[in-house]
C-alpha cells in the first residue's frame, strides 16, 4: 500500500485542544509519528515576567482549561514559599477540597474524552453531565465555572458558602451512585476492553527513563504520588489510597482514573467532615507594593495528569523574574506519545493520546 502523510490535528475531531501529530501511515498502520505542538503557544511564562505578582494570579489558571486549580495551587505555593506566608488551616482544607473536586472534574472530562474518542457518546454525555454538577459546586464556591481564580497566595478568596457541605455531599452521592452504571457500560464493556487492552503499552523501565509521572507511571506498578511523597495542603491528614496497576496499557490507565475518582470522592468527604473553623485568608500585603524577597524555588503538586511543577525565581521586585512550569503533558505528549504511536493503528491515535491524558495547552503554555 501507498505511504501517506496524515496530519492529525490541529483541526481534527479527534483532537482535544490544539495539538498536532504528523503521521506517516501505510494503510491503517502508523510508521512514524511526530508530535507537533506550538499551535497554542501564548508565551505565558514570558507574559508573567511583565505582570505584577497579583496580576499573574488570574493568568496562571488559563494555562490549563481542564484542571485550572492545580495551576493556581502551584503558583500560590511557590509564592508562599518565596514570601514565607503561612496559610491558615481551614484554607488548606478548602484547597484540598477544591483540588480534589477539580481532579474529579478533570477525570470525568478524561472519561468524556476517552469515550468520545471511541465514539462512545453515551458515556461521554454522562461524564459531561456529572462534570457539570461539579462545576455547579465550583460556581457556588468561587463564582465561576471553569476559571475559578480562587486559590490565591495566602489562602483562598472566600469562605465556603452556606449549605455548601450539604450540596457537595449530595453531588458526590449522585456521582457515586452512578458508578455502577459507568462500570457496566464503560469500564466493564467487552468491546471497550477489546479496544483498550494492550494498547499503548509502556514498561516500567521505559516509563522511568522517559520521565513519566501520574497515572501512566502508576499504571506500570510504581506507587509514586506527590500527594504522598511531599504532602501539600492537607494530604498528610486525610486517608486515601494510591491505586496502581501492573500492565501499563491504556486499559489499566483508565481503570486507575476510575479508582482515583472514587478516592477523590472519599477525600472530599473526609475533608468536609474534618474541616476546622477559622480564617481562610491570610492577607498578603498591598498588591501595588508587593515585593517578594529574592530567591528561587521549585514546587510541585500531583495534578490529575501527573507531576505539575513550577520553578520560580524572584529578584526582589514587584514582578517574577522567571517562571517555568513543568507540566505533566510535556514529556507525555512529546516523547511518550511518539514512542507509543509507532506501529500503532490510526484508529488508536486518539485512544493512546487520551489515555496519556495529553493536554495541548499545557505543552505549549
Amino acid at each position: 500500500m501507498r505511504e501517506l502523510e496524515l496530519y492529525f490535528g490541529p483541526q481534527h475531531l479527534g483532537m482535544v485542544g490544539n495539538f498536532s501529530i504528523t503521521l506517516k501511515v501505510e494503510g491503517d498502520q502508523i510508521l512514524e509519528a511526530h508530535a507537533n505542538p506550538g499551535w497554542l503557544h501564548r508565551g505565558f511564562e514570558k507574559l508573567m515576567e511583565y505582570r505584577t505578582w497579583i496580576q499573574n494570579f488570574p493568568l496562571v489558571c488559563r494555562i490549563n482549561v481542564i484542571e485550572p486549580d492545580s495551576m493556581e495551587m502551584v503558583y500560590a505555593m511557590a509564592v508562599e514559599k518565596l514570601a514565607k506566608i503561612e496559610v491558615p488551616e481551614r484554607a488548606n482544607y478548602i484547597r484540598a477540597i477544591v483540588l480534589e473536586l477539580s481532579r474529579l472534574a478533570s477525570h470525568l472530562f478524561g472519561c468524556w474524552a476517552y469515550a468520545n474518542m471511541l465514539g462512545f457518546d453515551t458515556v461521554a454525555q454522562w461524564a459531561m453531565y456529572h462534570r457539570d454538577l461539579i462545576l455547579d459546586l465550583f460556581e457556588q464556591l468561587t463564582g465561576a465555572r471553569v476559571y475559578h481564580i480562587y486559590i490565591c497566595p495566602g489562602g483562598v478568596r472566600r469562605d465556603l458558602p452556606e449549605g455548601f457541605k450539604e450540596k457537595a455531599l449530595n453531588t458526590l452521592h449522585t456521582i457515586g451512585g452512578c458508578i455502577p452504571d459507568y462500570d457496566a457500560t464503560f469500564f466493564n464493556n467487552r468491546l471497550f476492553y477489546e479496544r483498550a487492552k494492550g494498547i499503548g503499552k509502556i514498561t516500567r523501565e521505559e516509563a522511568k527513563e522517559l520521565g513519566v509521572t501520574g497515572q501512566i507511571l502508576r499504571a506500570t506498578g510504581i506507587n509514586f504520588d506527590i500527594r504522598k511523597v511531599e504532602p501539600y495542603a492537607v494530604y498528610d491528614k486525610v486517608d486515601f489510597e494510591i491505586p496502581t496497576r501492573e500492565d501499563g496499557d491504556a486499559y489499566s490507565r483508565v481503570w486507575i482514573i476510575r479508582d482515583e475518582m472514587i478516592q477523590s470522592v472519599h477525600t472530599i468527604m473526609q475533608c468536609l467532615e474534618k474541616i476546622p473553623e477559622g480564617e481562610v485568608y491570610k492577607r498578603v500585603p498591598n498588591p501595588f507594593k508587593w515585593n517578594i524577597p529574592k530567591g528561587e524555588t521549585y514546587v510541585r503538586v500531583e495534578s490529575s495528569r501527573g507531576e505539575l511543577g513550577l520553578y520560580m525565581v524572584s529578584n526582589g521586585k514587584d514582578k517574577p523574574y522567571r517562571v517555568h512550569f513543568r507540566t505533566p503533558s510535556y514529556p507525555h505528549g512529546l516523547l511518550v506519545l511518539e514512542k507509543l504511536l509507532k506501529n500503532a493503528s490510526i484508529a488508536d491515535v486518539g485512544n493512546i493520546m487520551i489515555s496519556l491524558y495529553v493536554t495541548a495547552p499545557e505543552i505549549d503554555r
Binding site: T142, G143, R158, A184, T185, N188, F192, W255, I262, K289
Partner: protein, 622 residues
C-alpha cells in the same frame, strides 16, 4: 466503595445494555431558554458600581491585569477632597471577570452582578460605564419586566448582585498599625509625649498599606507628594522620603505631630477601614533623620540682592522664609516669642508637640541662612513703618493670637486659653484649681483641659481632681477631632456638650462654679454661628477655676492706621489676597489664619508656598 476500587471488573457484552434504562428516565439537561439556571450568589458577571460610594480612586484600573478598566471623567460629578470626578469604565472585550477590582475597591462600591449575557453587533457597546440600579433606573429592570431574550448590558435584572466586596477578603489592609502610646493613667500624670512613634518595622508595614490612589494629595492643602514619600518609607529610604516632603513642607517634625491630616480624611482606605497614618509616617520620616542638613544637603540658590521681612515665625512664616531663602533672597523673620514656631510654640501642649521638635525644624531653616529676630514684637521693639521702609517685601503670618472671651457675667475672673497655654509651655506653670471648668469644644479647649488635668495631677498628687468641659456643640457637631476627644475621655475628662455658659458664680471673689443653660441650636439656617438657648433649663457646674477656650482672633494693632486703612478684608473678616497671597498693599503679602477659614498649619504652609512664589514674581518685577 473503597474495597471495590481494587477490583478489576469482568468485561461483559450484555452488561452495557444496562444503559438503556435511561431511555425511560427524565433527562437532566435544561431546555434553554425556557428553562433557566439561576447563577450562584457569587457569580462573577457584569460590574455594578455604587456611584454614591465610589471615590474615583482608580485602584480598580491599576490592579486590572488586562487593562480593561479605564477611569472616565464624569462632568456631572463634582470633584471634592476625597472624591475624584472619575468613574471606572469596563471594556468587556478585555475583562476576564477575575474580580480583583472588586477585592481592591476601598469603598466597596464596585461589585459584580449575576448578569452575563451581552450580544451586540457593535463592539463599542462592549464598553460599560459601571453603574447600579440606584443611578441607572433605565437599564435595570424588575424581574417581571426582565426578559432573557433581551438580556444585555442595557437590559439587566434589578437586585441581581453577585460577587461582592467583603472587607475580610479585601486585598488591602483595612486596619492601621496601632501607634504605640503612653497609657492614659500614666500620661495624665506628666507632660511626656503621648505618641511614641513607629518603629522601623511598624512604619514599613503601615506604609505598605497605601494604595497610591493620590486622593490625599488632592485633599492636602499643600499638595504634598504623599504617596511618594510613603512609598519611600516602605522601601526603607527615610532620607528619600524626607526629601520629597521638603519639596512642599519644611517643618515635618511639627506637621508630623499636629497636622490636621486632611489627607487621612480623604484616604480611600478610610471609607471602610482606617486611613493610612500619613501624619505618623511623616513624623517617622523626620524622626529617623537626626540632622536634616546633613542628609538633605539643601543649598540656597545664588543670592539675590533683595530683602524680605517675615512677620511671625509660625508655620506660614517659617515656610515662606524657607522657600524664599532657597530662591536666594535675604530673609529676616520677626517674632515676639523667644523661639520659632509661633502658635505651634505656645499652643499645642508639650505632650503633643515638644519644644525640641519645633526647634529641630526651626534650626534647620536658620541653618540655611534665614535670620531670626526673636523676642522682637513688631510695633513695640521695632516699628512696622521701619520694616515697611527697609525691606523690599513683607509677609504677614501673624495668626490668631488673641483669645476671645465669652463676655458672660464675671468672665474677667476666667483664664483665657492662649494665656494659659503659653504660660504653661514657655513660662511659669499656672497654679490651677482642683475642679476646673473649660468652656469650648474645639481642639484648643481639649488641649487646655488635658493640660489642666496634668497640672492638677502634678500640683495635687494623691488628691481627687476634676476637669470638665462645657461646649455649645453636641457630640455630633463638636469641632474637636474624634481622636482628641477619645484621648481626653480616656484620661478622665468630663464632657458636658450642648450647654452654654451664662454666668460665672463668684463668692468672696473666688470662683465657685459656672451656671449653664441648655442650647437649642448652634447654627442658623445659613449655617452661620448664632446659638439659641432654652433659657429655663439651667445647670450649675461646681468649680474653682474657669478657662475660656472659645476661639481666637488676630491682632493688627501694630500696623499704622494709614496703612491698615489700605488693607482690604473679605466679608468674613479675613484679609483679601490674590492667588499669590498679595494683599491690597502690593508690598505686603499675607497667609495663614488671617487669610484662611481653615485654621491650621498645613493651610498656612500651602499659603506660604504660594506667597513665596508671589513675592518672587513681585520682586523680579512682574
Amino acid at each position: 466503595m473503597k474495597e471495590k476500587s481494587k477490583v478489576n471488573g469482568k468485561p461483559s457484552l450484555l452488561g452495557p445494555f444496562k444503559a438503556i434504562k435511561y431511555l425511560f428516565k427524565k433527562p437532566v439537561t435544561l431546555r434553554y431558554p425556557f428553562e433557566l439556571k439561576e447563577p450562584s450568589l457569587r457569580c462573577r458577571g457584569f460590574h455594578l458600581n455604587d456611584w454614591d460610594k465610589c471615590t474615583g480612586c482608580g485602584n480598580c484600573a491599576d490592579i486590572c491585569p488586562n487593562e480593561a478598566v479605564t477611569m472616565v471623567e464624569i462632568p456631572e460629578i463634582e470633584a471634592k477632597p476625597g472624591e475624584k470626578n472619575e468613574r471606572p469604565q469596563i471594556d468587556y472585550g478585555r475583562c476576564c471577570f477575575c474580580g480583583l477590582c472588586v477585592d481592591i475597591c476601598p469603598p466597596g462600591s464596585l461589585r459584580l452582578s449575576r448578569d452575563y449575557f451581552h450580544i451586540h453587533f457593535k463592539t463599542s457597546t462592549f464598553n460599560l460605564l459601571a453603574k447600579d440600579e440606584k443611578i441607572d433606573k433605565e437599564h435595570f429592570l424588575p424581574a417581571d419586566k426582565y426578559s432573557v431574550f433581551k438580556a444585555s448590558l442595557a437590559h439587566r435584572k434589578k437586585d441581581n448582585e453577585g460577587f461582592s466586596s467583603e472587607l475580610k477578603y479585601s486585598l488591602f489592609e483595612p486596619k492601621r498599625v496601632s501607634m504605640p502610646q503612653v497609657k492614659p493613667e500614666e500620661r495624665k500624670l506628666s507632660f511626656v509625649e503621648q505618641v511614641l512613634g513607629y518603629s522601623k518595622e511598624e512604619a514599613k508595614q503601615e506604609a505598605s498599606r497605601c494604595l497610591e490612589c493620590k486622593l490625599c494629595e488632592d485633599a492636602c492643602p499643600a499638595h504634598l507628594k504623599i504617596s511618594d514619600y510613603v512609598r519611600a518609607i516602605y522601601e526603607d529610604k527615610p532620607d528619600e522620603s524626607l526629601r520629597k516632603i521638603f519639596e512642599d513642607n519644611p517643618i515635618p517634625a511639627i506637621c508630623g505631630r499636629i497636622c490636621m491630616a486632611h489627607c487621612e480624611d480623604a484616604c480611600s482606605l478610610g471609607k471602610r477601614g482606617e486611613p493610612v497614618a500619613v501624619r505618623w509616617l511623616k513624623r517617622y520620616a523626620s524622626d529617623m533623620i537626626e540632622d536634616y542638613k546633613k542628609t538633605l544637603r539643601l543649598k540656597p540658590a545664588k543670592s539675590i540682592d533683595k530683602k524680605v521681612a517675615v512677620i511671625g515665625a509660625g508655620p506660614g512664616g517659617l515656610s515662606v522664609a524657607y522657600f524664599l531663602r532657597l530662591k536666594g533672597y535675604t530673609v529676616t523673620v520677626f517674632d515676639s516669642l523667644p523661639g520659632g514656631g509661633g502658635m505651634m510654640r505656645i499652643g499645642p501642649p508639650p505632650y503633643r508637640l515638644p519644644i525640641e521638635s519645633i526647634d529641630k525644624d526651626v534650626s534647620h531653616i536658620a541653618s540655611l541662612g534665614v535670620k531670626f529676630r526673636f523676642n522682637t514684637t513688631v510695633g513695640k521693639d521695632i516699628l512696622f513703618e521701619d520694616i515697611y521702609k527697609n525691606y523690599d517685601a513683607i509677609h504677614l503670618g501673624i495668626g490668631m493670637t488673641v483669645s476671645h472671651s465669652t463676655r458672660v457675667k464675671n468672665s474677667e475672673k476666667a483664664y483665657l486659653a492662649l494665656q494659659f497655654l503659653q504660660e504653661n509651655k514657655i513660662g511659669k506653670k499656672v497654679k490651677v484649681g482642683k475642679e476646673i471648668i473649660v468652656i469650648g469644644g474645639g481642639n484648643v479647649a481639649i488641649d487646655v483641659a488635658r493640660e489642666a488635668l496634668r497640672l492638677q495631677h502634678i500640683q495635687y498628687p494623691e488628691e481627687k481632681v476634676i476637669t470638665k468641659t462645657v461646649s455649645l456643640e453636641d457630640w455630633d457637631i463638636m469641632p474637636a477631632t474624634k481622636e482628641e476627644i477619645e484621648d481626653a475621655k480616656a484620661e478622665g475628662i468630663q464632657f458636658n456638650p450642648g450647654w452654654g455658659p451664662k454666668e460665672i458664680k463668684i463668692e468672696d471673689s473666688k470662683v465657685k462654679g459656672l451656671l449653664c443653660i441648655k442650647v437649642k441650636s448652634v447654627f442658623d439656617e445659613q449655617r452661620r454661628f448664632r446659638p439659641t438657648f432654652y433659657e429655663e433649663k439651667e445647670m450649675f457646674l461646681k468649680g474653682d477655676m474657669v478657662i475660656e477656650a472659645i476661639g481666637q482672633g488676630p491682632n493688627f494693632s501694630f500696623i499704622p492706621k494709614e496703612l491698615f486703612k489700605k488693607l482690604e478684608f473679605t466679608p468674613r473678616r479675613k484679609i483679601k489676597v490674590t492667588e499669590f497671597g498679595q494683599t491690597s498693599i502690593p508690598k505686603v503679602f499675607a497667609g495663614g489664619d488671617i487669610v484662611n477659614l481653615n485654621l491650621d498649619a498645613i493651610t498656612a504652609i500651602a499659603d506660604a508656598k504660594r506667597a513665596a512664589e508671589g513675592i518672587d514674581l513681585y520682586l523680579k518685577g512682574n
